[in-house]
């Protein structure tokens, strides 16, 4: 199928692609956020440990 038709999705392109894009955003955000939070926490705690042992 030519790529243009694939994008067009039989006229429903906007609805289909917005749905899928939103799904990806949700999945990515909900995975990245805890990863970053964890790194942030560990950094915070190690700084606190260093201050304490000084």
């Amino acid at each position: 199928m030519p790529f243009n038709e694939f994008l067009g999705m039989g006229g429903y392109g906007f609805y289909v692609w917005t749905s899928w894009a939103l799904a990806f955003v949700v999945l990515i955000v909900n995975y990245i956020a805890p990863l970053r939070r964890e790194k942030q926490l560990l950094r915070q705690f190690s700084r606190r440990e260093r201050r304490r042992t000084q």
Partner: protein, 253 residues
């Protein structure tokens, strides 16, 4: 064999053990999820036929339905973990409940928005008060209520147990809510019949649907374990094992 399984579960109840287990487990589930997601995406978007009535817009179903299934599955998991936390007083379990809530709410939100996007070309309106979407909306309220209660209570222990009660009350109410919304919907059934539940589905559509659903499920396991690790760190910040853990980390990785 049951003995060793019980021992292992018992060990998991300890925060440092769970923390250590959850990292690789989250990675494992993450890869599983991805492994299912890729064929799922391919089949959903390209490898399956369009619907004879709805055309290509049916491809939204491959995101909408799994999201709706997960919104329920996450709540059920929260309820299970709530029971474990209350009955056996396992704090790690409560941490898991708290970690799951935003993920469940996100899936519910996704189900609602994709449902709306699926409906617009079909019925011409952005929102329709059909049984499925209305139930999802009420489920979103249940999730948000849980999050609101947790943030309103300062003491972690109290928040955990109050939240657990709320989740259990919610889980008991969900079938009641579904039944009442179903009944309400048939009462006011207009000319539109929603296409969200297909009576008999072609296996070429069922396969991508199941792949996406399983992918989302493993994703939930992975993301929830990651969030639980953060929860555990925050709760145990002053404990010996966390200090040992972070004392050894000098440079930021």
């Amino acid at each position: 064999m049951l003995d060793t399984m019980w021992n292992w579960l018992h060990k998991l109840a300890s925060p440092p053990m769970f923390y250590r287990f959850a990292g690789p487990a989250a990675n494992g589930f993450g890869w599983l999820s991805l492994a299912l997601l890729l064929p799922g995406i391919f089949l959903s978007l390209a490898g399956s036929p369009p619907d004879y009535q709805q055309g290509e817009s049916v491809r939204i179903m491959y995101v909408h339905v799994p999201a709706a299934w997960l919104s329920m599955f996450v709540y059920m998991s929260m309820a299970g973990a709530a029971v474990v936390g209350l009955v056996w007083r396992i704090k790690v379990s409560h941490a898991f409940v708290r970690a799951s809530a935003p993920i469940g709410a996100a899936f519910t939100f996704l189900a609602l928005v994709t449902g709306s996007l699926w409906g617009k070309p079909m019925w011409g309106t952005w929102w329709i008060w059909d049984a499925r979407l209305t139930s999802e909306l009420i489920l979103l309220f249940l999730y948000l209520g849980f999050v609101a209660l947790q943030s309103a209570i300062e003491d972690r222990d109290t928040a955990d147990r109050a939240g657990a009660i709320l989740v259990l009350v919610g889980v008991v109410n969900i079938p009641i809510i579904h039944y009442s919304v179903e009944w309400w919907n048939t009462l006011h059934q207009g000319a539109t019949v929603t296409k969200f539940d297909k009576p008999s589905i072609d296996w070429r559509m069922l396969l991508p649907l199941l792949l996406m659903a399983m992918s989302f499920t493993f994703y939930y396991a992975s993301a929830a374990l990651r969030r639980t690790r953060c929860e555990i760190l925050e709760r145990e910040r002053n404990s010996e094992w966390v200090r040992e853990l972070t004392g050894g980390i000098d440079a930021v990785q």
